[in-house]
Each structure stands twice: as structure tokens, then as C-alpha cells.
């Protein structure tokens, strides 16, 4: 059973990175560059988001990876529930912090 993760600063940053392009799958190194978090922070966050059912992960096709001469990557993507929850949590966070304007919810 999924349980909602704590919305820490790191979790919020990762969610914001996902919401920048909600339909795009990202791999770990890409998210590290987008968020600025080290690997030791990012992967535990991704694991917790997976536990919560907010993020799905799937391996890249082996043929696609072999064509570029590298090992397969693991891609992460927000689930439908994850998109809703991430928007809700970020909106709440912005309100709690008193940040003016609209948060980066990924909506046009």
C-alpha cells in the first residue's frame, strides 16, 4: 500500500523537475542535473516516490541502448496520481511559504 511521502525540499525539487514536462520520462542522471541533487539524495527520493505510487520506473529497451553502445537506462515518469499529487503538494507548499504567483505545476 502506498503512503504519501514527506514533502521535503529535495522531494519538492524533484517533483518540480518532473512537472516541468509531466509526460516525459527521465533517467537518474538527467534528474540529477535538473535538480542539482547528488545521487545519494536523488535515488532515495525516487524510491520513496515509487513507494507512494507517484512515480513509475521502467527499463529502456535493450536494443535501443545497444544501438548507442551503452547499458540500458532506467526511466522514471510521474503517474497520473503522481501528477495530481505533485501539483497539490507544490501548490500547498507555495501557499505555506507565502510565495506570490503561480507555482510550477506544469500547466500551461
Amino acid at each position: 500500500m502506498s503512503r504519501e511521502p514527506r514533502i521535503t525540499a529535495a522531494v519538492a525539487t524533484v517533483l518540480a523537475a518532473f512537472l516541468a514536462e509531466p509526460d516525459t520520462a527521465r533517467y537518474g542522471l538527467e534528474l540529477m542535473r535538473a535538480t542539482g541533487h547528488p545521487s545519494g539524495t536523488l535515488y532515495p527520493v525516487l524510491a520513496r516516490l515509487q513507494d507512494a505510487g507517484w512515480v513509475d520506473a521502467e527499463w529502456e529497451e535493450a536494443t535501443a541502448a545497444q544501438s548507442t553502445g551503452r547499458p540500458p537506462r532506467r526511466y522514471y515518469r510521474l503517474t497520473a496520481d503522481g501528477v495530481v499529487a505533485a501539483r497539490r503538494e507544490l501548490a500547498a507548499l507555495h501557499r505555506a511559504l507565502g510565495v506570490p504567483g503561480r507555482p510550477a505545476t506544469g500547466l500551461a
Partner: protein, 702 residues
């Protein structure tokens, strides 16, 4: 990929596997493959792997709500306290072995009893070591320092951190010894002891991994004895080498200290007494403290280093339930009855002759009287502990717990009335019966409180405040101020403390107490503590105990006002505020009159002002801080829904929250505590369901 990078990555992946997660090694290798093309690829790969190796693997399926400070605080504080607790409690227990020693004259026909005492002491020490070894193992399983898989890393961390914390725990005693006896700091000996204990950890661990548990226990006990013997011998050697004839008995220095008798030294004439006195001055406290700390430390370190193998993260930790069946309830009543009868017997039968002997100068410099007093305190504690067991799970625990301060207060009051008379005995019997009956009745009448975050704060404050009410009567007189004013102030503060305790009891009574419930117990507390202070207060006492207690009381009030706060600042404040209370609590504590009076003679005539009371400061402050940490831990259960109008189920804002999907407030779990409900939730989001406890911790950094 470099060798170091690969090892770090494998180590990090093993931690994830140990946490019950799929092996992420292949995924991370894929990421490193991309880094190979980047500038400075070797360094970046190393950083990537090192960062993962340093981070914890997240628990599977449940959130670990406690922060690193809370996770580490418990094991570190336990290790820190072990040496002092052993010296104070174990030292008092070992004194029981001295009871058969009625003579030190070799020509006395009863001299053989001396060796019975030696045997008792040695047997009790070995039993204590085995008990502490088992306790250390249990602590290591439940509170490991590291979540890393079993291996050299875990072993090293467990061994080093354990011995360092145990060493730090010995520092107050070293300071005391230095201040009192002017003995040079035993740095070399203690370091040798620590190194030997640390080196024994992998040896014992290997034996445990081979499945030979009894052999591991034997190794641990032997290692603790050898490390202690060598460490103490090196420590006291500079002091003893100056004593004529002492070198010949070097191997028996430690046994002499352990049995606390010069009879064990095979030296002619009075030389053995002379050497033994120097040994005692150099390190009376060392044998018991080091041998017990080594046993506990070895048990803890070996268990903590292999705990990942024994209890995988994905498996629930087996909790040892406190026995609560009818048989144990009966046992509790038996203990309570034995304690009560013992207390009554001590008050009416043993105290009067002890008084007479002391008055006639035959009480061994009041030692007999003080020993009687300590036995009375022990009997009171046995009564209260028996009641706690007997009434376990029948209701809240505080009625049974409060019998201890009530009986102690009665004990003090009886002690101040002079030699016990028939009236005093009647009062004592009535007090015991009243306390037991009231505890039983109140326990069954009051609903058992729900274990919710912050729920126990009022109870803890109540108990602490009630305990503090005992302080004014204990302090004796000085000539610092006019009698009437000081007595009035003492009574006022005692009544205030009692009122605070009563208020907290009312607050703890029900989850949602109204004003009437909250103040229902205030008059009782005021009358009880105020009356006690009025009966027993002496002039000038307030100048001593108000500065000691005021900071702690202030923090207790702050805790009451903000029971759900978990800020580090408050925790630090509590620890520092508890510091001045340390000497006070040590002064009035059970065991302390015998132990502390004997080892830390006051320089100023006021024990609680003396420099050696640093021990009390450390012990009590750390103990209080450790106990209070639990107040800031969150409940390990699913989040309860918010009650009342804040649980809105209406449509969400345009781009905001989604409709709430949690359980209905009407059918949710038990209501939140007063503490939790009292927490404001600024910036709360309509439609978002969470508890106040979650709210306070929602922005904790990773």
C-alpha cells in the same frame, strides 16, 4: 570504472538490498557509463558512487519518520549513560555483599564470613557482566548505529563509536576523582582499555557468525575482564609505584578494588591496608565501571554490527511485550505487598534502633542510619513497581507511578517527626493502604489514554513537577534569610509545583479535557505539595533550590504550552535547563546518600553546590534529555484523518488540490491528542488530509 568507485557502488547497492529493495547496481552502472564521456569523468564517477554509499537506503513500504538525530540519540545516550548507571546502581547492589562482613580481625571466629562476602561480590560481578552483555545485545538489535550490511564497515563503526561513547561516559568520574583525590587523569589506562575492547569486537563477532553463542559470551566476559585488569593496572600504576611494597601485589590490585577489601593482598603487617587505601583513592570506581561497560559495549557492538543479518529491514522487528497476564498481575501485588511490609518494618522496627545507635555514636558516622534510609527508599520503589505491574493495562499508568512520590513524601514526613511511635506506624499503614487503593481505583476508573504523538507530554510534566515537590523538604537549613519569608516562599513554590502537577494530571485524564477536568486536580496538588512544604521547609532553602529548579520548571511549562513542538532548539533548551536540576536530583536520589557521600565529599558543606556534583549534572541532564526524546517521536502508525471542519471534501481549486480520498472524519481512527490538536497548522491546504504531527514535520530537510 575505478576500483574504489566500484567498491563504493557495490557497497551502496548492498545497503539497498539489505533494505529489501531490488538491486540497483545495474541502473547505477548505466548512469556511470554516461559519465565516462564527460570531462573529469573519474572524479564525477567517484562522487556519484560516494554520495550513494554515504546515504541511507530508504525503508520499503513505510516512512521512517524520525530524523537522524533521533535515530542516533537513543543508542548514543544509552552508551553514554552505561558507565555512570553501573557505578551508582551496581555499586549500591554490591554493597549488599558486604553485609556478611562483620569483622576484619583475622582472629575473630567469624572471620570466615569475609570470604563469603568476597565470593558474593565476585559472583554478583560476573552475573552483572552477563546481564549487561545480554542487555547490550538487545540494545544493539533494536538500536543499531548503522543500517549498513554486516561487514568491515559495520564492525568498525560499531566498535569505534561504542568505545568512544563509553569513554566519554567515564569522563565525569575521572573529573570527580581528579578533583577529590588529586589523582592524575587515567588517560593511558582508559585508552588501553578502549583499544582492547574494540579489538575484541571482531573476534567475538566471528565466533557469533560461527554459531557459537556461548563461546562468544565466554570470550566477551574474558575480554572484558582482561581489558579492565590491564587498563586499571596501567591507570593506578603511577600512583601505586610510589607506595612501598605495593609492586609485589600488582596482580591483585584489581581484585582488591573489586572486592573492596585489603584482606586479599598478601602483604605483611599493616602494609596491605596501606596499599589498599592508596588503591581505593586512585580508582575505587574503575573496576565495576570498566568491567560492566566493557561487557555491555561488547554485547552492543557485536549485535549492532550483525543486526542487519539478523533482522532484515523488510521484516518487522519483534517486540517483547511486557507480561500482563493474571499471573504477573498477582506477582505485582506480591511485590507491592512485600515492599509495603518491608517499608513498614523498616520505619517501625529498624529505624528506632538505628537512631539510638547513631545518637550514641555507634552508628558508624551515620552510615547505619543512612543505609536504613536507603532501604526504606528501595522498599517504596518496590511497592510502586509492584503496583505498576499489578495494574498494567488496566488503565493509565500514572496513578501507580504517583504512589512512589506519595510514599516517599510520607517517608520524609515520618522521618521529620522523630522516632516512630504508634501513631507514626498507624499513619504509615494508612498511607500505604490509601495509596494502593487510590491507585487501583483511579487506574480502573480513568480511561486508558490513546497513544498519540505528544499525548504523554502532560503526564511527563506532571510526574516531573510532582517529583520536584519533594525537593523543598529535603534541603536543610542555612542562615541566609529570615525564617518567615523563606518558609512562605518555599510553601508558595511547593504549592505552585503541586498545582502544575495537578493541572497536568487533569490534562492527561482525557483526550479532550474541558476546563473543569483540567483544574480538577489543581487543589489536590496545591494542598499536597504546599502542605508538605509547610510541614518541612526550613529557612534559606529556597535560595538553594529555586535557582536549581526554576529553569527546568520553565521548560516544563513551555513543553506544556507547545506539546507537539519538535524543534531542535527546544530539545537543547530542555537539556540545558535540566543541568541545574542534576545536583538536586542526585542529592535526593535513592542510593546516592551512601554512594555519593562516600566518594564525593563536599568541599563547601553543601553537597549540591560541591564541584564533584558534576557527576549528578551529567547523569541527570543526559537522562532527562534521553527520556524527553521520546516525546518528540512520531507515532509509528498510519496517519489519522483530521477532524472537524478542516477536512473539506469539496471541489478543488482550478489547478490545486484534488478531492480528499482518505477515510471519513466520522469513521476515522481515534481522535488526536490534545497535544496534536493544539498544534496550529499555518498554511494548511483545504482538502488535504494530514495530522497536525505531519504538518509540523512537513518541511524537514532530507
Amino acid at each position: 570504472m575505478g576500483g574504489l568507485t566500484g567498491r563504493l557502488l557495490r557497497f551502496a547497492a548492498d545497503r539497498w538490498v539489505a533494505a529489501g529493495r531490488p538491486d540497483p547496481y545495474e541502473e547505477w552502472l548505466g548512469e556511470l557509463a554516461e559519465l565516462r564521456g564527460a570531462p573529469n569523468a573519474g572524479w564525477q564517477s567517484l562522487v556519484f558512487a560516494a554520495s550513494l554509499a554515504c546515504s541511507r537506503a530508504p525503508r520499503l513500504g513505510a516512512r521512517d519518520r524520525s530524523g537522524w538525530s533521533v535515530r542516533l540519540a537513543a543508542p548514543l545516550l544509552v552508551l553514554l549513560l552505561v558507565p555512570s548507571v553501573v557505578v551508582v546502581a551496581g555499586g549500591a547492589a554490591l554493597r549488599l555483599a558486604d553485609l556478611p562482613i562483620v569483622t576484619s580481625d583475622p582472629h575473630d571466629p567469624h572471620f570466615w564470613l569475609v570470604f563469603v562476602g568476597f565470593g558474593l561480590r565476585i559472583a554478583m560481578t560476573l552475573a552483572l557482566m552477563v546481564l549487561l552483555l545480554v542487555a547490550g545485545r538487545a540494545t544493539g538489535r533494536r538500536l543499531p548505529l548503522s543500517t549498513a550490511p554486516s561487514g568491515p564497515y559495520s564492525t568498525t563503526v560499531a566498535a569505534v563509536v561504542t568505545v568512544v561513547m563509553l569513554l566519554v561516559g567515564t569522563v565525569p568520574w575521572v573529573i570527580v576523582q581528579h578533583a577529590v583525590n588529586g589523582v592524575a587523569g587515567p588517560v593511558g589506562g582508559l585508552t588501553l582499555w578502549a583499544v582492547l575492547v574494540a579489538l575484541a569486537v571482531p573476534v567475538v563477532l566471528r565466533t557469533l557468525h560461527a554459531g557459537r553463542r556461548r563461546l562468544a559470551t565466554t570470550w566477551s566476559v574474558l575480554a572484558a575482564l582482561v581489558a579492565t585488569w590491564l587498563g586499571i593496572t596501567v591507570t593506578v600504576a603511577p600512583h601505586l609505584l610510589r607506595v612501598p611494597g605495593a609492586v609485589r601485589s600488582l596482580p591483585l590490585w584489581v581484585p582488591d578494588l573489586l572486592v573492596d577489601s585489603a584482606q586479599i593482598l598478601p602483604l605483611p603487617g599493616d602494609t596491605h591496608r596501606y596499599v589498599s587505601e592508596h588503591l581505593t583513592a586512585a580508582g575505587w570506581y574503575l573496576p565495576l565501571m570498566l568491567v560492566a561497560a566493557a561487557a555491555y559495549g561488547l554485547g552492543y557492538a557485536t549485535s549492532a554490527a550483525r543486526s542487519r543479518l539478523a533482522v532484515p529491514r523488510s521484516a518487522p522487528v519483534e517486540r517483547v511485550a511486557w507480561p500482563a497476564g493474571p499471573r504477573y498481575r498477582g506477582l505485582g501485588w506480591v511485590f507491592a505487598a512485600v515492599g509495603a511490609v518491608a517499608w513498614l518494618g523498616l520505619v517501625t522496627r529498624m529505624t528506632p534502633p538505628a537512631d539510638r545507635l547513631t545518637a550514641a555514636g555507634k552508628g558508624g558516622d551515620s552510615v547505619l542510619l543512612v543505609f536504613t534510609l536507603d532501604l526504606r527508599h528501595l522498599a517504596v520503589l518496590l511497592t510502586a513497581a509492584g503496583l505498576v505491574v499489578a495494574l498494567r493495562r488496566a488503565g493509565p499508568a500514572w496513578p501507580a507511578l504517583l504512589t512512589a512520590p506519595a510514599l516517599l513524601a510520607a517517608d520524609i514526613a515520618l522521618g521529620r517527626t522523630g522516632p516512630p511511635t504508634g501513631i507514626a506506624a498507624t499513619v504509615a499503614v494508612s498511607t500505604v493502604v490509601l495509596c494502593a487503593t487510590a491507585a487501583g481505583a483511579v487506574t480502573r476508573l480513568v480511561a486508558r489514554p490513546d497513544r498519540t504523538y505528544g499525548r504523554w507530554t502532560p503526564a511527563v510534566v506532571a510526574i516531573a513537577a510532582a517529583a520536584c515537590t519533594l525537593v523543598p523538604p529535603v534541603f536543610s537549613d542555612t542562615d541566609l534569610a529570615p525564617t518567615s519569608t523563606m518558609v512562605a516562599l518555599t510553601v508558595l513554590l511547593g504549592a505552585g509545583l503541586g498545582g502544575l502537577a495537578g493541572y497536568c494530571l487533569g490534562l492527561a485524564r482525557t483526550p479532550h479535557p474541558g476546563l473543569a477536568a483540567r483544574i480538577a486536580y489543581v487543589p489536590v496538588g496545591v494542598l499536597f505539595a504546599g502542605g508538605l512544604a509547610l510541614l518541612t521547609a526550613r529557612p534559606g532553602a529556597w535560595l538553594q533550590w529555586v535557582p536549581h529548579l526554576a529553569p527546568l520548571v520553565a521548560v516544563l511549562v513551555a513543553m506544556l504550552a507547545y506539546p507537539g513542538r519538535r524543534s531542535r532548539r527546544l530539545r537543547v533548551g530542555i537539556a540545558f535547563a535540566a543541568l541545574p536540576a542534576g545536583p538536586v536530583c542526585i542529592t535526593i536520589g535513592v542510593y546516592t546518600s551512601l554512594i555519593m557521600d562516600a566518594i564525593v565529599p563536599s568541599r563547601t558543606g553543601l553537597d549540591y553546590d560541591a564541584v564533584p556534583m558534576a557527576v549528578g549534572i551529567g547523569v541527570v541532564a543526559v537522562g532527562l534529555a534521553a527520556g524527553l526524546v521520546a516525546l518528540f517521536q512520531r507515532p509509528n502508525r498510519p496517519a489519522a484523518p483530521r477532524r472537524g471542519p478542516t477536512a473539506v471534501t469539496g471541489p478543488p481549486p482550478a489547478n490545486g488540490p484534488s478531492p480528499a480520498t482518505g477515510p471519513s472524519p466520522a469513521t476515522g481512527p481515534a481522535p488526536e491528542s490534545v497535544a496534536t490538536a493544539a498544534i496550529p497548522a499555518p498554511g494548511s491546504v483545504p482538502g488535504q488530509e494530514s495530522t497536525g504531527a505531519e504538518r509540523t514535520g512537513s518541511l524537514v530537510a532530507d
